[in-house]
């Protein structure tokens, strides 16, 4: 009993696996998200070609435009990697630049999505028009909502970095935000392939 007080204070924080608890918890959460998007994507696939009224996907999807926005989103993942590298090295300028770049590229992607949604609306595709409208807007809408949350998260980190509160000791915070960001990107790759590229 006497040596209780002599134990190192960190005793409580050693984890069984050596993995950080927050990171592990976030991975588990992403696992759950996979099923969420999986169900949305599966529904899209089930209803592919089932619309009884136009406009149909082939008449309305703008593949070149969305290819550009896809490229933008994928580049944002690269920016995210550079931002994390900046934080890990304690390089404030690099951190600030690339966090902002990631958020900006994410916002640009959202801009493309807003443009696309508006254009579809003018061409007569709404949530109510047909099954394509319902499944398309809900699936890409939920993805867009995830990107929006990611952009807000990145901007909050950027403000912290600006105030000098995002040093190397907090690299894990940025790493977890990065996990989320890359996850959302990967989901988009699946969506882009299945909605836009697959005949």
């Amino acid at each position: 009993m006497n040596h209780a007080a002599a134990l190192p204070a960190e005793e409580h924080f050693e984890t069984s696996t050596g993995l950080n608890t927050f990171k592990l918890g976030f991975w588990v959460f992403l696992g759950s998200e996979t099923l969420f998007f999986g169900s949305l994507i599966a529904t899209y696939m089930v209803y592919k070609g089932a619309s009884v009224t136009p406009p149909y996907p082939s008449q309305i999807l703008n593949i070149p435009l969305t290819s550009i926005s896809t490229f933008v989103l994928l580049m944002s993942s690269l920016a995210m990697v550079l931002a994390l590298a900046g934080v890990q090295r304690g390089n404030r300028a690099q951190t600030l630049t690339w966090l902002l770049a990631t958020a900006a590229l994410g916002s640009l992607f959202l801009g493309f999505q807003a443009f696309e949604f508006t254009e579809f609306y003018h061409k007569g595709l709404t949530l109510q028009t047909n099954l394509f409208g319902s499944t398309f807007f809900i699936l890409t809408g939920f993805h867009g909502a995830h990107v929006t949350v990611g952009v807000i998260w990145l901007l909050m980190l950027w403000v912290q970095a600006l105030r000098g509160r995002l040093g190397a000791e907090r690299a894990l915070t940025v790493e977890i935000a990065g996990l989320y960001w890359h996850f959302v990107d990967i989901v988009w790759i699946a969506i882009f392939t299945l909605i836009y590229l697959l005949e």
Binding site: M1, A4, A5, A6, L7, A9, E10, E11, H12, F13, T15, S16, T17, L19, N20, T21, F22, L24, G25, V28, F29, G31, S32, E33, L35, F36, S39, L40, T43, V46, Y47, A50, S51, V52, T53, L127, Q128, N130, L131, G133, S134, T135, I138, F142
Partner: protein, 604 residues
Amino acid sequence: MATAEARVRAEFEPHGGTGIWSWITTVDHKRIAILYYVTSVVFLVLGGIEALIIRLQLAQPNGTVISAETYNQLFTMHGVTMVFLMGMPISVAFFNYLIPLQIGARDVAFPRLNALSYWIFLFGGIFLYSSFLVGQAPNGGWFGYAPLTSKQFTPGLNADFYSLGLQALGVASIMGGVNFITTIINMRAPGMRLMRMPLFTWMSFVTSFLLITALPVLAVALFFLTFDRQWGTNFYQVAAGGDPILWQHLFWMFGHPEVYILILPAFGILSDIIPTFSRKPLFGYAVMVYSGCLIGLISWGVWAHHMFATGLGPIADSFFTISTMIIAIPTGVKIFNWLATMFGGQLRFTTPMLFSIATVGLFTVGGISGVMHAASPADLQQTDTYFVIAHFHYVLVAGTVSAVMAGTYYWFPKVTGRFMSERLGKWNFWLFFIGMNLTFFPMHFIGLLGMPRRTFTYSPDLHVTNLNLSATIGAFILAIAFLLLIVNVLISRRNGAPASHNPWGAATLEWATSSPPPEYNFGRIPVIHNREPLWLPGKEEVVEAAQARPGAIHMPPPSFWPFFTAIGIVGTFALFLTGHWWAPLIGVAWTAIGIVNWAYEPTH
């Protein structure tokens, strides 16, 4: 939070207080467990009252106690309550209390997230029940089949309360799943390898995986329903080419893992209690673990056995018949292992043991009727009749609820430091046993004789009057049994015989620390060398460490933000009811305020 929380104190300072505020802000897994338990019992009473009214209506043919519309609302809310507001959360109460104690942790991985889960559950439950105030409780059955839930057939708010309420509860379950998985993987005591964990923790682990994988599918199904109803999308609209069967697929892809979410914790409880009162280690520990994992895995491949009557075609029917029958194998393994554990043991027939033995026996009855309607041709006869009601009440009441009663009697001394009354306990058990069988056994025959479920009345020509009367009498006996449980808890909490730290002579780690455990659980985290740390050599060291005077322990401080954030999250869903697209944004903003304050709250 982890490293920021490190703060060296010479002595542990408890986060004091017992007032309302201390409960609202608590992040202690043991107090949250008690909140979960008490809330679940309140919902058990509400769901029970609904069942009793249903049984009164059905006591005689052509019953006139309630109208058909009220009947619809009652059976729907009975199902929703017992699954989402009683069955799941009461298991989570046990997860919360026991997992950290069984693996040698001071709390769960994310204590504030844990509190958030509870508050979302509570507010979500209140939201669902508020539907009675406007007379528009959900009325489309607990599985709310499309297209019955569409605006066309359910113009009122009934289906909105259903979809939005369940959506909120699902969020809480996913958070809980993330929390428990992380806790079990990462917060075990030194030497507490996965294959040394108590079976209850193992089954909680499997259940948590089912929670995080099944609930998102329900979330998607419910979002589709909400959007169909609020914004005119076409997911379940036949006229637009939509397929109502999509709802059934999504719902049961969630719904069948859900069945195991409800029963696996019960299996875990039994696997901890039976060895204690047999004075023998669990027979085939590893096989018990593997069969639990296998049940969890296969539960993902059996969902369409709920849908044989929809005409899936012979290939799908065959596949799901076979997969469903296969799942009976690991389940059967568990039953034989419990029997083998008892075989040759020094059995002590305490109340928890009685409930456990009854669970093994009666669950098997439900399991066998389950195999019966796994066969798709037989299922066509049985589906939507009282036979199905008999089946799933045998697995859920005689399985889950009975195991929960066993668990209550078993762990009560740990929670309160006092025994529950054994005398009342025996009464409780026998009334439960008789009431349960009297209520649900006749339903097998009622169903086979052709009485459909969810019909508010029946004709005397069906010749099921006496059977129904028996079920009604049984239901009231069952109600008395539950009342006795509550009375026993209330009396024993103050007046029960004092219990030592290990009053039953159990083997698992939660019994090493004092009863009730201190806020920090273990003075020092014990080092574990085997599966039965309190039976095998080295037990003195384990107990000594567990009850050691605490040194520099940092426990997370209370927080108001989980409560605040939960209001925002449930509010977001509730505000969909207004029909204004912007209204939920108020809830989103409220939630955002909560999250930001949460993120910047000092945790030390």
